[in-house]
Amino acid sequence: MAETIISLEGVTKRFGTFEALKKVDLTVALGERMVICGPSGSGKSTLIRCINRLEEHDEGRIVVDGRELDQDTRNVAAIRREVGMVFQQFNLFPHLTVLDNLTLAPMRARGMSRKDAEEVARLYLDRVHIPEQADKYPAQLSGGQQQRVAIARSLCMRPRIMLFDEPTSALDPEMISEVLDVMVELAREGMTMIVVTHEMGFAREVADTMVFMDGGEIVEKATPAEFFVQPKSERTSLFLSRILAH
């Protein structure tokens, strides 16, 4: 087994009295590609948002890349530099050009020079297949292009881990594949990825591990072969039959 890069032990997260995560245990190995699925409200987004501290967990331990997420803001900052995140709504900075979206964090948080940052930015724009869009503003791009810019923006920080929070859910159907293609390429390069998605074709193609969540708990964790063919839990097979039916 490869080196563990993320570990959660007994993680609980509450919103008021609602328990979004109930004593969740999970480990992710370096280079592992994990796909998390489950019905809405099952806690899957909350789970990955705890990993880079967009949500603060109430109980348990989260260790990322050897650092524990605690009240020490330096730890949080260090972890965020190593963990990239792609959002459902892209969340590009609308007042900045594509290139400036990509260079801002490397320059400010990594202390890179503008020249170096732009070099890296162009490299990753190339990787997501939109090198010609560098000087446009986000609103001038299609949804699929915006999401690829968002992926490139995260990659420019050269993270060790990438989190994807339903990256294709806000896209028109014809744009989903261009984003998934980029993610497949990223997976092939060995990036550690945790992807919350209902794109089961993508999951079958790249996932090492499938995780099914329901009601704030991890119901099932298995390889795609087991997960899709012989799910152990009834809730999992019910969920799968629903989303694979159409």
């Binding site: 965020r80 530099r81 709504q89 007042h95 400010r108 503003y137 609103a139 001038q140 995260s154 920080m157």
Partner: protein, 261 residues
Amino acid sequence: MPTDRATRRLPPMAQVLLAGLLLAGCSGGNYTWGWYVVSPLNPQGQGNIAFLLSGMWQTISVSLLAITVSIPLGLLVALPGFGRNRVGQGFNRAYVEFIRSIPILPLMLWVYYGLPVLTGINFDPFTAGVITLVISDSAFEAEIFRGGLQSIERGQHEAADSLGLSALDKLRFVILPQAIRRILPPLGNQFIYVLKMSSLLSVIGVFELTKKANELVVTLYRPLEVYSFLILEYFLLVVVISLFVRRLERRMGADQRQRGR
């Protein structure tokens, strides 16, 4: 937008204003108008106009100074309201609620006559006036900043956080540049408000427009004509500010159009 309408309809508006004044002059009751006292066509009128206009610089400088200091101060007051620190939040609310509840005139009298007792430093009327306007205005600026900063979507904060930007960098490069476009119109409004409130400084003896007008009224005993002229002076200043703010908005709106939405 109101400023938009005000500036675009300026010529007809000015016409209506003038027509109204003339009409009142022709038909108005028993009063015999004495526009000659502020007429540029005779030497006495020219002298009076020069005297009235000589307050312009004080009005402009006092307002500009006040707004320039109160904008960063307002931002400093607004920011703790967003932090997690309870003390900071409390300070923000207390400052805003308390300061904006004080009418400007008593505040000014307190600063001019009261503050020297406490501090032992005597302020000249100009300084006391600027301090008063800055204190009062900063509370309103803080609320304007709060509204603008709060209007930025949570996703923008989360994107900046997840990229590892510090809180200060996030504010400086991501949140403020977007908020400033939404803040600009109410900020322009506030500038106009400060300019008009500077007329109160006449009470403690700052030689701005209103004080000059008061002095002239005492010697000429022509309050109607002189104060009409005074109102026209403020009107012109406000129009200039409106045009300036509109231009700024257009300049910033340029890339907003590129944003679509």
